[in-house]
């Protein structure tokens, strides 16, 4: 089918066999690519009960149909797997250049299965695919290795690597690429480490077949023009995601000291203009991006280069751990990248440990000598290193994630372990933001913001309102935003530049030659959403409503200061939101899709006996 390469690359790490197979036409039709293809493959190929770190789990690496094309933002891909952090469904989206290169090499997805006995890296040069010895690279930092492989193989190769955290099976290890892009969440780097795969290097020289080249080119160029003429284009491109910092601070959404507050007294020091002025070297776009949010930085204070910090890192390794020097946050960011840790989960774990320390539950000896007060940059750096290397009791404990750590430490610390489904919450305080709270409760990987960024809707509609329309907004966003991960493109042209959603269906038709409407695309996204839900149902024993519980902090304890001081969302209000949500989704009161819903979405045959 046009827009696709028509081939899937299967790499069996246990026996070293490498094969290609046709991408099933009906799968392209019903699930498209990216996270849709990944979810389909996860359902069909990874059995229930598979150990996330064992040979039965697989890592699916999938561009989408728009990846690598002229359409704006065509630089995204998805890593899909069973999560070692949560035990359930995980996918992590990554920008950069790799997705396009995989398409040019001729693959709709790369399946890593089994476990290699020795460290290897996957070498792909069009049709030449090899597993190569990586024992001499084991232990190297992410970008040190990327630089080395570029030197050895050539600049044209696109490289994805894991750092020591992935090797050491830290449960939230990330995959790094292009000197600053990550597939961050859910432990996709951990799975790569468990499979003994240190890196993936890809070069492709082919093109992407397009059904109607003239129309596709014209529509894509119109979309570019719309982005470039958008009102918010200049500010967004100048500051990237960091532009959100001041808005969050002023609206009580900036996570501060482990989400005790949504506003930070030193936040002005980490606002976007300070960042841009003091450390940014260049704008750095993912493939085919008219409006690059990526900012490549150099900290003179620490003598390091890093892409970022992005907003999420600014929140989680800045205000949430009490750091207020942008160069210190850049250093923490760089350490996480090089060592291969997800900055969001790392920040969440460290903030939790700092709160334990300040409350006297952890002492300095348990903290391996670190003085874990909020705002201590050196302690933050030290703990990042210890987590990545699993050094000391606390480093090893936090490497398991905050849910596990709190269960181990107890003494009430579960109350400030800020996660959903075992995934640390990303950087939006939800004491008083009922849609955003629901978005975190129901996101299909755990507490991640990218499925439904509903917090602006909360501010506009009344942040403590509990109503069906607020649940409806979350569902609407959960269909549109992850659709971009299915298509293999970036959502931010729509989110930040207001690029019209009317582009997507005509562009997909011109690309593939297949008639498709916006409603069709949304239904595919809803199908994928329900399939990922069924993966949780099948794979996690006892999965149900309690897995959608919010972090206690937001429903039991008021915000300590700032614009939302004294506010929280009563637990029954959160449950009411969940009732509205389940009802509108066609799920039962335990959060399981009903047989009628699965039938409506064309999933009944696939999920079969696993439906309620």
């Amino acid at each position: 089918m046009n827009g696709y390469t028509g081939r899937i690359l299967r790499v069996n790490l246990s026996d070293g066999t490498i094969t290609t197979e046709r991408t099933p036409r009906e799968v392209m039709r019903d699930y498209l690519g990216g996270r849709g293809l990944g979810a389909y493959l996860l359902w069909t190929e990874v059995p229930a009960g598979a150990d996330p770190l064992g040979p039965e789990n697989k890592l699916f690496i999938s561009p989408g149909p728009l990846s690598g094309t002229l359409f704006p933002g065509a630089g995204k891909m998805d890593f899909t797997t069973r999560s070692p952090l949560t035990g359930g469904y995980a996918d992590a989206s990554m920008g950069g250049m790799l997705t396009a290169e995989i398409k040019y090499a001729g693959y709709d997805s790369i399946i890593l299965e089994g476990v290699s006995d020795e460290p290897v890296y996957l070498y792909i040069d069009d049709d030449t695919v090899e597993l190569r010895d990586a024992s001499e690279y084991w232990g190297m930092g992410s970008f040190a290795l990327e630089e080395r492989l570029k030197d050895e193989l050539g600049e044209a190769f696109q490289i994805a690597t894991i750092g020591p955290a992935g090797e050491n099976l830290v449960k939230y290890a990330c995959i790094n690429h292009d000197f600053g892009r990550q597939a961050g969440r859910g432990g996709v780097g951990t799975v790569m480490g468990a499979k003994n795969v240190k890196a993936i290097a890809v070069r492709g020289t082919g093109g992407i077949p397009i059904a109607d080249v003239d129309t596709f080119t014209r529509l894509s160029r119109e979309a570019y023009r719309e982005c470039k003429e958008a009102d918010g284009f200049k500010a967004w491109t100048r500051y990237g995601t960091m532009i959100v910092t001041s808005w969050c601070d002023k609206n009580g959404a900036l996570p501060t000291r482990n989400f005790q507050s949504g506003s930070f007294e030193d936040a002005a020091d980490i606002y976007a203009p300070v960042f841009r002025h003091s450390i940014v070297v260049t704008d750095k776009g993912c493939f085919g991006c008219p409006s690059p949010c990526g900012k490549y930085s150099h900290s003179k204070k620490h003598d390091i280069y890093v892409e970022g910090p992005e907003y999420e890192t600014n929140g989680m390794l800045g205000s949430d751990v009490g750091l207020s020097d942008i160069e210190d946050i850049a250093k923490a960011n760089q350490l996480c990248d090089e060592l291969g840790l997800d900055t969001i989960s790392a920040g969440g774990c460290i903030a939790w440990a700092m709160e334990c320390y300040e409350k006297g539950i952890l002492d300095q000896e348990q903290a391996d000598g670190l003085d874990l007060r909020f705002g201590n940059a050196e302690a933050t750096f030290g703990l990042i290193e210890r987590i990545a290397k699993r050094q000391g009791w606390l480093g090893n404990l936090l490497a398991e994630g905050v849910k596990h750590a709190a269960a181990e430490v107890g003494q009430g610390s579960e109350k400030w372990a800020v996660h959903v489904k075992g995934m640390e919450q990303s950087a939006y305080d939800t004491h008083s933001a009922t849609s955003m709270l629901l978005a975190y409760m129901t996101a299909d990987v755990g507490a991640h913001h990218n499925r439904a960024w509903a917090i602006t809707y909360d501010i506009a509609e009344g942040r403590d309102e509990v109503s069906p329309k607020k649940a409806a907004k979350v569902i609407e966003l959960q269909h549109i935003r992850p659709l971009m991960d299915v298509l293999g493109c970036c959502r931010l042209q729509w989110v930040e530049l207001d690029m019209s959603l009317d582009h997507y269906a005509p562009v997909m038709k011109a690309l593939t030659g297949v008639e498709i409407s916006w409603e069709d695309l949304l239904q595919i996204s809803e199908r994928v959403w329900n399939l990922t839900r069924m993966i949780w149902v099948r794979d996690v024993e006892g999965f149900g409503r309690e897995w959608d519980a919010p972090a206690p902090r937001f429903v039991e304890e008021p915000a300590a200061s700032g614009p939302t001081e004294g506010q929280f969302t009563p637990a029954e209000a959160a449950q009411q939101m969940l009732d509205y949500y389940y009802d509108q989704r066609g799920w039962d009161e335990n959060g399981i899709p009903t047989p009628e819903t699965l039938e409506r979405l064309g999933l009944a045959d696939l999920v079969g006996a696993h439906s309620s």
């Binding site: 690598g68 094309t69 002229l70 704006p72 630089g75 250049m97 396009a100 040019y104 970008f143 630089e147 600049e155 292009d178 000197f179 492709g204 020289t205 082919g206 093109g207 992407i208 397009i210 080249v213 596709f216 080119t217 894509s220 160029r221 570019y224 023009r225 982005c227 470039k228 284009f233 491109t237 070297v281 260049t282 704008d283 750095k284 776009g285 993912c286 493939f287 085919g288 991006c289 008219p290 409006s291 690059p292 990526g294 490549y296 150099h298 280069y305």
Partner: protein, 128 residues
């Protein structure tokens, strides 16, 4: 008329390369573009854009006069006349005359401007 580039504005996204390959070959394949981007990472963190300056040395060295100027004054290679002798590729001071094994002629920038249209940061422009 020729293409100019400001390295400091380039974000390295490569949309220009795709627009170029669609113009020259009707293909979505940035490996068949007539300009290139060289990233310098991790340090110093800059992009270097290599574009044709229309200096004409390619035409001067071509032994079969396969390189002509279009109405805008930009040089282009006539695919039917090119013998793949590669003298122009070696001669080009910017390294922006391109070839690859599956194309039986070399190609270069004809200053069409399609790359300019899709460059978000306005790092590319056409001028005399």
């Amino acid at each position: 008329m020729r293409l100019y580039a400001d390295n400091a504005k380039c974000s390295g996204c490569r949309a220009c390369l795709v627009a170029c390959s669609l113009h020259l070959f009707g293909e979505n394949n940035p490996k068949k573009a007539a300009l290139s981007i060289v990233p310098h990472f991790p340090a110093p963190g800059t992009f270097e854009v290599k574009v044709c300056t229309q200096c004409g040395q390619c035409a001067d060295v071509c032994p079969v006069d396969a390189i002509h100027q279009n109405d805008e004054g930009a040089y282009y290679v006539d695919p039917d006349e090119c013998t793949l002798c590669m003298l122009c590729v070696d001669e080009c001071p910017e390294g922006v005359v391109y070839s690859r094994p599956d194309v039986d002629y070399v190609w270069e920038c004809d200053a069409c401007g399609d790359c300019v249209d899709v460059c978000g940061p306005d790092a590319l422009w056409l001028a005399d």
